[in-house]
């Protein structure tokens, strides 16, 4: 079991007071403590953004990658050592902007990775430009006359792309988020957890109050996470934002049966066993 002390680092969080990242941080740590996992068997891969700064506040095996690219790093880690539980902590700019291709491909491949996206509808770290989830008309430094594009709908995309675990949480509801993260990590496959999060400094529209007014819980309305059509219908309703598990199924994860792995994590293969003699003979 992982304890609170195990996760503590000497670095003090650098987020703005009132930032939703605190709630997500708390939930990530609580979820790790609730998982039945050895500390050394968990790796968290972070993106670049305020969200990714969490890498300094959670002790353990971590990898802070490039902006937009934590997902393929996580997939590489998982393919190298499938014993590990691999989690990605990142932002909406990171995932749905810079790294959208990896988001879709990760879902397609159903790599056994849990993706936690801080969805604050802005680029926090670069001082508040509109992110891909910003609403049409949203004004920011990069969109002074209002965002022209419609927002990305990560939940609908994930459901449409055969996501095997698609959920949404809210930074101001850590109890629900802990459950979602635990369920996501336990799920065998690519778990998408989009987390609504307020940016206290730059997003004056989508505040905690705003999110509270615009969200409801799927379980309160008797949603069945096996029902893909219902999941999609709820996902595309952008006036009422649902939280909870939209959809889950048992589609085989990528690393279930990778040829060449022989059921043993790659990292445990004995390299001295490599022998190309027979293969070389085929070139004769």
């Amino acid at each position: 079991m992982i304890t609170k002390e195990d996760l503590a680092t000497p670095v003090k969080p650098t987020w703005c007071p009132g930032c939703g990242d605190f709630g997500i941080w708390l939930a990530v740590k609580q979820a790790l403590m609730q998982l039945d996992a050895k500390h050394e068997d968990v790796v968290i891969v972070y993106g670049i953004g305020c969200s990714g700064h969490m890498c300094n506040f959670v002790r353990g095996y971590g990898f802070e990658g490039l902006h937009g690219r934590p997902i393929p790093v996580a997939e590489g880690i998982k393919l190298a050592n499938k014993k590990l539980k691999v989690i990605v902590v990142t932002g909406d700019g990171d995932t749905y902007g810079e790294g959208m291709n990896h988001f879709i491909s990760g879902i397609r491949g159903n790599h056994d990775v849990t993706l936690i996206v801080h969805d604050n509808r802005v680029y926090g770290l670069t001082t508040g430009q509109a992110s891909p989830t910003a609403e049409k008309g949203y004004k920011s430094k990069s969109t002074p006359t209002g965002q022209i594009e419609v927002p990305v709908n990560p939940i609908a995309l994930a459901v449409a792309q055969d996501g095997s675990f698609v959920a949404r949480g809210f930074s101001a509801d850590p109890q629900q988020l802990i459950k979602l993260i635990v369920a996501g990590v336990q799920h065998k496959g690519f778990s998408v957890i989009d987390v609504l999060q307020n940016c206290a400094t730059f997003n004056k529209v989508n505040t905690v109050t705003w999110f509270k007014e615009h969200t409801y819980k799927l379980e309160d309305e008797g949603h069945d996470p096996r029902d893909k059509v219902a999941a999609f219908t709820r996902a595309i309703d952008e006036t009422r934002l649902a939280t909870g598990i939209f959809y889950q199924d048992e589609r085989e994860p990528y690393d279930q049966d990778v040829p060449g792995e022989r059921g043993v994590p790659l990292v445990d293969h004995d390299l001295s066993e490599a022998d190309i003699t027979r293969t070389m003979n085929e070139f004769l």
Binding site: Y61, F63, E64, I71, A80, A274, T279, M280
Partner: protein, 583 residues
Amino acid sequence: MSLFLAVNKISFRIGGPAGFGIMNTGLMFSKACSRIGLHVFDYVEYPSLIRGGHNTYQVRAEDTPVRSQVETVDVLIALDEPTLTIHADELKEDSLIVYDDATIHPEHTVLKRGIRCPVPLKALVAEVGGPEIMQNTVALAAVLGILDYDFSVFETLVQDSFEGKKGGIVDQNIQVARKGYDYAREHYGHHSHYQLKAVKAPKRMVLTGNEAIALGAVQAGLKFYAAYPMTPASTILHTLAAWQERHNIVVKHAEDEISVVNMGIGAGYAGVRSMVATSGGGFALMNEGVSLAAITESPIVIVEVMRGGPATGLPTWTEQSDLRFVMGAGHGDFPRFILAPGDVEEAFWMAAEALNIAETYQSPVIIVSDKYLAESHRTAEPFDLSKVRIERGKLLRQAPKNYLRYADSPDGVSPRTIPGVPDGFFLANSDEHDDWGYSNEESGIRNRMMQKRMRKEAAYAKTMPQPALVGATDADVTIVGWGSTKGPILDAMDWLAKDGCKVNFLQITHISPFPAETVKKLLAGTKRTLMVENNYTAQMAGVIREKTGIELKEKLLKYDGRPFYPEEIYGRVKTMIGKGGAQ
């Protein structure tokens, strides 16, 4: 007609439209020559399309080492009329031309020279009821018939090549081969001025640079390979993908090259030997990843197989124009390790070497190759596998007390744990960081980390292999080159030596860190130099000048996508020596 007899010295070409099995037929000829003990080099030209266009496959085989193709053609198989026109100038009076006169009419072409040996390819295939593609086998067998090649050796080759295919296919192929062989002997047996005869020789492989890299990497413990298809790197992907189960490796065709390099870094960080490959355009996408591997000190090998640029450029043609790009790849300052193999042996050994450097110095390592090396086959004796070393550097399977991943060390390399090791925790951080890995932008720590990382390059430089001059001592001309130009340079040097010319060769295989002192010393002792490069701007000459202060004034450059022919190098050196009056 036959004025001379050329035994075991042949330049063969097959040409025709893309999609007609020309690549397979060419390779069969290469293997046929290798099986009777000859040295073989082959070279393919094809446009970037699947059907139509003109494909050619050129094979040179001799009983002494050959490492490049030559300009003239002794035997030509033409599978369409354009082949006769396109290659008319390469033919000599006594060159043999095999084609099907039912479909090809030399009088419609500009064909001037050569001995016409029409063979009813289509009709012979029809006699056994085989598919049209078997015309290739008939044509090849016909050529072997004229060249007095031992049919039973070819029969075995066909059997080996179609191993695993249904018995019927093998038998049919052998049947049509026999027909083509007999037909040619009956009608053209008297044109026996070119012959292929078995010689005593060790068994040799016929393989490409890409295959050699794949073999070397696997033998050196490669476990993870990711790629996105891009000519001319794709055959590494195909080769390794086919070997996944047999060699216990995981191969991932990822969504793009950015993903490829990041996956490779993730796998390297997690403790497996990881490699990726691409060509210039894909490498451009990987650039940020090169930097990431450097600052997180994650091992990864990146193979950059160059083709003609810029942009999509010449997708299926060769060029060495990414040297400066590769040397400058990735933003920021960090140690750079770059290897440039010049032939299949070096490709094999450097793949293993690169994996060792990557883990020993916990760094990205780049192997720079090109289409000419990547896709040309050459004969090579099986590699001595007992000499392959796996050096994993300071890899810890147990963490010491108070472990600090990025602790300072004299050689810049800090002991490394991997996820799964109890108490070996650390953060691999793309932000500048402290000894644990936590983000840190303090001036003192920045300087220490920067110096620690850069010391790795200096540490490696002390142990790295140094270049040497090969060829004549006291040479009148020193040829300088790198990468795949090695083959045509060495072949030209063989001819020059026969003419009594004193020439030697400086090949730069380890490009970064640059062996400046050695190169400076070697060049200081030369009389005249000739820089040979497959690019417009003489990029290596520029690097040499930057690193040694020596300017190599005379250059032989080529950037039309074609490799050098030894004739071009031979001719240039001859003129230099003539002018210099050294002969």
